[in-house]
Symmetry: C2
Subunit: 476 residues, 2 copies
């Protein structure tokens, strides 16, 4: 592979000193307007060169009729033009000596056969000129550290009306614009972003390139991906095996049915068989595979907020007996074991129950809550199980309810979290009252405890931590 | 089966003229206090007789030292005593001529062997005396019509701090207290309750009894159940086959793993094999089986708010291409077909796109939203697909964002919903900003459109409507 394809060549996609917007627009809502608005509102400190044949100024910035008129060659060019104009524009980028281009225009391989042919010509041009091209049909990149955002959505107005992008530790790589769009408020507030790359059709920069780059990126500690296809399976798995020793890699692979693959335009072969191969290959390479965007968030939050457990013995604390049953079902399905509790642990737990109660595992606490109140029950039982050497992690199931007057439930966990830094605590607040639920989630998050809507989602996420820990042990 | 076991014998569990609370308490937070508080706050119009050997008055009501002292035999007695006192109390109920008893005390078969033996003695006593016993370990009943609530949780204070129980059409039968507890705010505000019965250990009244009762109950149009075991499979399936012709039956069956079954105390045999038998038997009887509480809510909301589709051809409208892929994956897995759109439909849709766009199915609308705005795009595309004779239902995927300044997104659907009353419209607002999400959900609900967090949950729910419709067609 030629020299220009090393990870250094990807740096301009995230921290360029200057960026040209080809197809810049004066019309709010258009991609060529949104990008500039987003960059300005985030406070991007580099140079912005709007390129538009008719405008003198756009959003207060001097505009240039053609790329060759900009005061310097930009480090990164964004192309936001109708598809028929893209090839010519790319040619101009090459002529101007631009090293990195994001083609945000759609209407290529994802749309029809003529589009696919055009995309191949773009790929050949990039290859020949030795420049890096992300897209076409990319929705851009975000770098939370550099106040940098090339997404063409109405980011600031629509998706983040109130604030800046929070710095976090998860790098998102997507064959989708959802990471910089619909899901941005969620990943921003509940997970935390290091960088996002929306790869689009991957005519040049692909998931392996970006995985390698995120693997080296010091701000990225966890890598989360949405993929419809994998261009070079062997390279991807090889990189994964190396990177996964330092950073967990979570992958949502869609297009797993024939119909889904047709819709993604990626494939026409035997998808079901291929999907089982993916499953096995991912597992062997230590990649954590998830089945939905919701699971992607759930598992990512587990890695962001919880320590890795030393084993798979889980204590379950549940408000209801039926919840104990569904939680055990979920543990068994996920390969976790219900912790046996020692007689000493049971004796500590027993103190909050009436005399006639027999303590079991999972711990059904409703009767104790009635006898001793919510606060005494939960803090006593959580401490007791965490002090037990046979417990590697605890799943605490509550309800989204104002249990303790004048006190938010998560605050009860402050000391517990400090005293047991090496055992994951997974909080579950089933959806009851949605407003209280929201407040509880935020409270737990501020405390560094991942919080979930259902026992199953917490348990699936905890199982991902366990499997990762197991993989690391056996890979060493 | 003796005469006392007909559905009439269950009426006192929901609409008794008088109720005794045996184990009534003056201590807030205790079950025997909560029940009375709940009844008073809901405005139950019948007589309440607190029974307590030491109290003169409880919550302003005259209290009675023993059941025999109440002015009349109550129609229903609630026992909220420690387990060791329950049998004697039940004896007194029999002596006083009470016909229906809910034993809300825990510590019986669900706890240990001595508890199981005690439970058997209770069952024999009920049988011999010809009275109906719900429980033990029941968390009570709710009847939204009669302002009646026997649940022992701190319902009003904790779970419904602001309001009464809303009348709805779904009857909930649970081997769990969660329906009257943790999940009550959710089922109350987002689904709507006709009646709830928390059966507990089912020593007498079981899921089949209650299914039959709800089958005859004119206010219950949809039946939702959580079950860990089924006492008489043949009776249950026979009743289901009959009732399901009028009312959909949705069942969450847990204890599907050996561990889960042990935790539920229901079984020690070969669970995995048994679970497959349940699957087949449920399907043949027209029962809709779901895999989690979240799915139970999702599917119930679909039945509450959407009409039954005439077929399984679904139009998907999605904000992102990747969303189209995951939606198609979900449709294929659920047995739904992606609708082909006629040339006329495609022409109507085309009007909101730039010239170079080629309309496909699923419909990826991001480019149209950029070109024509959110309102014009969504209303045009939704109308176009609903007017298409080859479309039986539509799944509309948006984002939880303030798309139209000063206007809530759901209001855009008002006329559409009126104009197409026979085709289900499923709204999906992936979790972005949670507050806007919440507002959108409420807006859609007020309009009678079920709304979902993910394409998959909407599609799974729509598939349940389709399967039910298919079952009705073939059962006729």
């Amino acid at each position: 592979m030629s020299n220009h394809r090393n990870t250094d060549s990807l740096r301009p996609f995230f921290e360029p000193g200057s960026v040209a917007v080809i197809g810049a627009s004066r019309t709010p809502g258009k991609g060529g307007y949104n990008i500039i608005e987003n960059l300005l509102r985030l406070g991007y400190p580099g140079k912005i060169y709007p390129v538009n044949p008719r405008a003198k100024r756009i959003l207060g910035l001097a505009a240039y009729p053609e790329l060759k008129n900009t005061p310097e060659p930009p480090e990164l060019a964004l192309i936001v033009l109708p598809p028929s104009l893209v090839l010519k524009s790319l040619e101009e980028c090459v002529a101007r000596g631009v090293r990195a281009v994001i083609i945000e225009s759609a209407g290529f391989g994802e749309m029809d056969e003529p589009g696919a042919r055009l995309e191949k010509r773009i790929a050949r041009m990039a290859e020949r000129a030795g420049i890096r091209v992300m897209g076409p049909n990319s929705v851009g990149t975000i770098n939370s550290d550099g106040h940098f955002d090339t997404s063409l959505g109405r980011l600031n107005r629509l998706f983040l009306p109130k604030g800046d992008i929070r710095q976090g530790t998860v790098g998102f790589i997507g064959q989708t614009g959802l990471f910089t769009g619909v899901y941005l408020p969620l990943v921003n507030s509940e997970i935390g972003i290091s960088k996002i790359a929306c790869l689009g059709n991957k005519c040049d920069v692909d998931e392996s390139d970006m995985l390698e780059y995120f693997g080296e990126d010091p701000r990225t500690k966890i890598i989360a991906m949405y993929l419809e296809s994998i261009k070079d399976g062997q390279r991807f798995l090889g990189l994964s095996r190396r990177i996964v020793r330092e950073k967990p890699i979570i992958v949502l692979k869609s297009a797993v049915t024939e119909g889904g693959a047709r819709a993604s335009g990626t494939h026409t072969g035997s998808i079901a068989g291929e999907d089982r191969v993916y499953d096995a290959a991912f597992r062997q390479s230590g990649i954590i595979r998830v089945g939905s965007f919701e699971q992607l968030w759930d598992v990512a939050r587990a890695f962001v907020y919880a320590p890795l457990p030393r084993g798979n013995r889980v204590a379950i604390i549940n408000l209801a007996g039926s919840g104990c049953v569904t939680a055990v079902d979920a543990c068994v399905r996920s390969g976790l074991r219900i912790a046996e509790l020692t007689p000493a642990t049971r004796a500590k737990i027993k103190t909050v129950y009436p005399d006639w109660w027999r303590v079991r595992s999972p711990v059904d606490v409703w009767t104790a809550v009635e006898a001793s109140g919510f606060e005494a029950t939960y803090t006593t039982v959580i401490r007791a199980v965490l002090e037990d050497g046979g417990v590697d992690a605890v799943v605490v199931i509550m309800a989204a309810v104002d249990w303790v007057p004048g006190k938010d439930v998560p605050t009860l966990f402050t000391d517990i979290k400090k005293d047991f830094p090496h055992k994951p605590i997974m909080a579950v607040s089933p959806l009851g009252d949605r407003k209280i639920y929201l407040r509880m989630c935020q409270g737990f998050q501020e405390m560094g405890i991942p919080s979930y809507t259902s026992d199953e989602s917490a348990i699936v996420s905890l199982a991902a931590l366990c499997r990762y820990q197991q993989y690391l042990l056996h890979a060493d």
